[in-house]
Structure formats: C-alpha cells, structure tokens
Symmetry: C2
Subunit: 246 residues, 2 copies
Amino acid sequence: MMATVAVTPTGLKKVCSQCNLFELCLPLGIGDSDMLRLDELVAVQRRIKRQQPLYRSGDPFEAVYAVRTGSFKSDILLEDGREQVTGFHMTGDILGLDGISTGLHSCNAIALEDSEVCVISYTKLEELARVIEGLQHQFHKVMSSEIVSDRGMMMLLGSMHANERLAAFLLDLSQRFTARGFSPTEFHLRMTREEIGSYLGLKLETVSRAFSHFQKEGLISVQQKHIRILDSGRLKKMIQHQASVC
Amino acid sequence: MMATVAVTPTGLKKVCSQCNLFELCLPLGIGDSDMLRLDELVAVQRRIKRQQPLYRSGDPFEAVYAVRTGSFKSDILLEDGREQVTGFHMTGDILGLDGISTGLHSCNAIALEDSEVCVISYTKLEELARVIEGLQHQFHKVMSSEIVSDRGMMMLLGSMHANERLAAFLLDLSQRFTARGFSPTEFHLRMTREEIGSYLGLKLETVSRAFSHFQKEGLISVQQKHIRILDSGRLKKMIQHQASVC
DNA sequence: GTGAGCGGTTGATCCATATCAACCTTGCGA
DNA sequence: TCGCAAGGTTGATATGGATCAACCGCTCAC
C-alpha cells in the first residue's frame, strides 16, 4: 500500500503516512485514503546545521516547512545589530507562514541544533487544500493557532512582569514538550539566556536573575540549560491573576 | 446582471461586487465571474452600536467579519479587570480569524463607534475557497498578514521605548488611513489614551506625555483626538534605527 | 593539560516608565 | 444653566528592569 513511495538514498525520506508527528502536524484529521496524496506533497526534506538559516528575511517564499527533528528560532534582525526573537519552534511546528502575505519571508528561521524539516511546496499545498477538505481546514487551524499564540505573546509583552514572563515561558515549554510525549517537568533548553530574553522582551541578566529567583523559591531547579519544574502549581498561580485567555 | 441580489429593507445590503472596499478586503484578486458567488457568501450584515461587542471571548466561532463602516478593537480581559488591547480594526479589515483554531473566539471585538460588518459564514467561505482559487489565496494572505503584523507588534512591545512605540503607532494609522483614501496627515483617533496605552504596553499617562512631547517637538499637533502629523520624516527616523522588517 | 572564549551569574547603580495625585476640559443630562 | 462624570494633562515620587562591571565555569582547540 505504501510501496509507491521510495526511500531516498539519504534515508531522510519519511512520509506523512508513517510519520510519528502525525497528530501534531498538517496531516491531523486527514483520512487514510488522502494520506498518500499528502506523501506526494511533502516530497523533499532538508537538513539544517545548528546556527544555519532555514530561510532569511527577504528570501522569496516558495514553501512552508514542518519541523521533523530539532528546533528553530524565528527572529528579526535590527539595523543596530540587535535581534528580536519572535518564536521558538519544535517538532511538528509549521514554519514560514509569514511569507504568504508578501511572497517574501519577513523573518529569519535559524536552527537551534542540527535539524530536519519537511519542505512543503506552497503551490502544491494550495492545490491539495482545494481537494482535501481536511487538509484545508487543518491548514487554516494552524494559521489561526499562530495568530492566537502571537496574541498571547502580545499580552505577555504588554502587561506581564519579568518573573511572570519567565513563568509563562516555562509553562508553555512544558506544555509543548508534554504534547510531544516528553516529560512535562524536566527538559533541556535549546536556546541561550539572551535568546530567551529577546523573546520575552527582557535583558539576559534579568532572565538569569529570574531563573535564580525561581530556584531560590523552590519553584524549579536550574543547571545551565537543564530545567526541572518542581512546583508547577505555584508557577501557574503567578500568571493566573493574568489572562483569562479562554 | 446583479438583479439576483435583492436590497434588503434595512438598506444595509451592499454586495461585494459593488463594495468600495473591494481592494482592501477578501474579494481582492477575484475575477468578475466569481464575484457574484462571493455576493452570496456575504449574505448578512450586522450593525453594532458603539461599545457593543461583535463577539466575545468564548463565543462559538461561526463566521468571520469584514468591517464595512466604523471601527473595532480586539481585547482580552484579565481577571483583575485590566484589559490588553490586541488590535484596532478599520474598514476592510477581517475580524474573527482567531476562532478557527479552537472553534471558539479567543478575544472580544468591541465597536469603537457605531459600525457595520459583513458576516461571512466560515463554512461557506471554506467551501467557496475550494472552488475559487483567488479567494483561497486572498484568504491565506489575509491570515498571513495578520501573523506578520502581530510579529511587528511583538517587536514593538519587546524592544521599543515609549516614544518610539507611539511614533510607530501613528505612522501605522497614517498608512492605514492612506490606504483607505483618507488624509495621511490628519485624522481622528477613535480610541482613548487608555486603549492606546493598553495596545502599546504603556500606561495612559505615558501615552499622554508622549503626545505632549511630540507636540512640543513640532512633530505633530494634538487636540484631543484630532491628530495632525507635521513631520512624518522625523517620526520615521525615530523608529528607523529599529526594524529592518523587510 | 591548558588557555581562550562563550555563556551564565551576581552585584551596584541608573533611568524610563509606573504610580499617585491634582487639576483641567468637554460634553451631557438634570 | 449648572454640575458631574469621563477623558485627558501634568507634576512629584517610586520602582522594576536596564546597564555596567566583575567574575565564574564549561567546552573546545591546540
């Protein structure tokens, strides 16, 4: 039944129908019969070395990307050399949606570690979305989720204090790791304090102090990039008086 | 040729094919032959009184809305009574895209003045997007633009100072008024200082001081909600050392 | 094994914006 | 017409996080 899809020499080829990211990625909600057509859509995969760009701001937009392994950050470089990190992306996340609006990518996507992505031709995706209702809807959901989470970020940046921002960040990571079958309480950060700071609208020293503070309070234990969440209840309470983001 | 579309007793009925927002809204890039099918999609219009909600956080998502006249803010209410404004919307803007992801709206949309919207059934929109390629693409562009502008907001909130934020806000308004055929240099604000502050991650006093400061510097003239931009060049320069958002 | 460099922590000080407070202006209803 | 409430401005003070600076501890190349 899957014999039509060849495994490439690189061994990279992993089609949607046998991909373990199934329930996080675009194929969600697509029937078996349509799945084979998806496999055709996601024909190419790419490996990106740590610190290398998947795409850069200004690059022509041709495809969106699904993270298969590894992780990425999105950022915007400022003229004066500073950067604003606008997101961190892990397996199953879809990258590049910003490019649809102008036909050019509007940010950089940089690998935080050696990573692999599925390249999804945007032209083919639109074609297929016109035929497979489930794909169309799932694609819309992915874009909409991005809008919702960006709104959440605006709230964080617009109205939360440093400690609250870090608490929200850690809980968000925890939740995303959980969704991917990893431990909710113990994980490795792939990004530096400076990148976290940029993302949260804080300086790296402030991020570091917030980590130390949480550790002193017994909320988490920190060893370099290794984080263990000890009291998620209190972390949640820190941001509870905030958002009733339904 | 348009005789099939009746004008309702309320006189509200304005179909896409004769709507002057044509080049800002969903119909952009859709051929004449398909336009009549769009008219059918946008069958209902709604009037919303000033301060009234178009939808609320938690409401089931059934439609997206195109602003025909008036303006709206999107906000998230916090448990402690504070609000975070996540956007201002004017004619031609599409509201409600946040609801696709969960099937529930995740923010409130409140009219800033008496307004009218076109109600666009989401089910019908998806159906039609599968048939009309141009509609599909334009819809994707609208969502993608939202993502891009939210990213811009994250940069503003994460890395700009109060004066820079207000400059960016005024220039953004100016640009949007221009796109709608109004003066780029003279306009009325529909929102209060507090709403601007919430949107920009500042307190209302800080917004007020920034306005006064700009006026003293001869950058703008302010009289209550009436704004005149006197030196857009210097306003732009204020945020230039920032963003090279392609 | 050792030194250099990057990432991280911590302390001291500074500054932009929040906070608190007084007052002004405008519009509207009694 | 008056008075009141909501929105806006301005001043004085407080404070959270930025900035500047020193130092620590991995990691990696030689």
